[in-house]
């Protein structure tokens, strides 16, 4: 646990800033994980300069070298910014953490040359290494979280792209569902469908599950939820694309589809929809 005590670190950093910066940047660019293809030298230089300055200030202001404390807020913000941009640029987590860890050597060199008392040197070196370790780990955590949010966003976009709603005729919508129907997908399907019902004034929606590989109790529940939500808005649903195996599974599972009309094919469902809408298809006299 970091204790409250004075440190010479911040003064040393101020006095030897130029040297530390130069050595640090050199280490970063010469390391095997420097990834010069992904980041410009000026950007790297700028980030290093700002980080060193923020680190110095935090060391000066706080007597507790605990990077989770408020005094270290701007250091954390800076690291978050660096970490997030590195994540976007395509750096790996360790490549990103190297930004912090490679500062250890220059700082240790400076401490060694300035402090002769071995006891004091050991204490200062220990403080420095503990602080940078925590900051390095923090960098990795921020990196993880920002990658996760990128993945989440991409998943969302994929979901939205894969659930189109088609207008088959006035007042009749069709949803060809393709792929697994999990709760995240169902949520997107429901929102899209209901939105289209409002926009088009449709009163019938055909949910086609030809492209849904498996129908288990959960999938059935998701379908029934979608049907229920559409009905609350005045639209009836027809479920089509029920393969014989699916029909067997549904009966086997004891799923109650009594309130929903079901058809084997989209074409059959469309015919039912037209009948309900009081429409028919007639041959045009030659």
């Amino acid at each position: 646990m970091p204790e409250a005590r004075a440190t010479q670190l911040n003064q040393l950093i101020r006095d030897r800033e130029r040297d530390i910066l130069a050595e640090w940047i050199a280490l970063q660019t010469s390391s095997v994980v420097s990834r010069r293809d992904l980041i410009s030298e000026s950007e790297r230089g700028q980030q290093s300069l700002e980080f060193l300055a923020a680190l110095r200030l935090a060391l000066a202001e706080s007597d507790r070298f605990d990077p989770t404390m408020p005094a270290w807020g701007s250091v954390r913000d800076l690291l978050s910014h660096v970490s997030e941009s590195r994540a976007r640029q395509g750096f790996s987590p360790s490549e990103t953490a190297t930004f912090v860890f490679s500062l250890k050597q220059p700082l240790f060199n400076v401490l060694q040359s300035a402090i002769s008392d071995s006891g004091v040197l050991a204490r200062e070196a220990w403080t420095m290494t503990t602080v940078l370790d925590q900051l390095g780990l923090f960098t990795t955590e921020v990196y993880q979280k920002s990658r996760e949010s990128v993945i989440l966003r991409q998943q969302q976009e994929m979901l939205e792209l894969s659930t189109p709603v088609v207008t088959l005729w006035n007042g009749v919508l069709a949803l060809p569902l393709i792929g697994t129907l999990d709760s995240a997908r169902t949520a997107v399907v429901m929102e899209n469908l209901l939105q289209r019902i409002v926009e088009s004034g449709a009163s019938i929606a055909i949910l086609d599950i030809t492209g849904v590989p498996t129908v288990d109790t959960l999938v059935a529940q998701h379908l029934l939820k979608t049907v229920a939500a559409a009905r609350l808005m005045g639209a009836d649903c027809i479920i089509s694309g029920i393969r014989p195996q699916i029909a067997q599974t549904i009966v086997h599972l004891g799923v109650d589809l009594n309130s929903v009309t079901t058809k084997a094919t989209l074409a059959d469902a469309f015919a039912v929809a037209l009948r309900r809408a009081g429409l028919g298809i007639a041959k045009v006299a030659a």
Binding site: A187, M190, E191, L194, Q195, I197, V198, G201, S203, K225, A228, A229, A230, R231, L232, M233, G234, A235
Partner: protein, 131 residues
């Protein structure tokens, strides 16, 4: 205390809920509607909830009750205008309002009412006999 206004249009009653109702107001509406249906021998009730940003189990139950009570009084009820977010939430909550007929908006609701009111069993009856 404030009440939700009930309009009479022919032999239909029209209610448009515009406020975030507290429970007592909802119960009052239930009572008022039932009374008016009986008083006016209305054959249809249209409840417009397009302004409601939320329907919880209490309001859901109120709507179900109104539909059931009107049926006993030989009137059809249609609830119109439920918002998508509300429908999604209501289903997740576990309510599907089984005895309640629904339509997208007032226009479609009136069409639905007209169709169901014109059905046999209701033809030509407005309470009073011919002479």
């Amino acid at each position: 205390m404030e009440r939700i206004p009930i309009l009479k249009m022919g032999d239909c009653l029209l209610v448009s809920i515009q406020v975030d109702m507290h429970d007592r107001l909802a119960m009052q509406l239930q009572d008022d509607l039932t009374t008016r249906i009986a008083e006016t021998a209305a054959r249809g009730v249209l409840i417009d909830i397009s302004a409601l940003e939320m329907v919880d189990s209490f309001i859901g139950r109120m709507l179900g009750n109104i539909a059931a009570m009107s049926r006993v009084l030989d009137a059809q009820t249609v609830v119109v205008g439920m918002r998508p977010a509300v429908a999604i939430t209501l289903v997740e909550l576990g309510m599907s309002l089984p005895g309640v007929r629904t339509a997208l908006n007032i226009e479609k609701g009136m069409e639905l009412l007209a169709a169901s009111m014109g059905a046999p069993g209701g033809a030509g009856v407005n309470g009073s006999a011919v002479d």
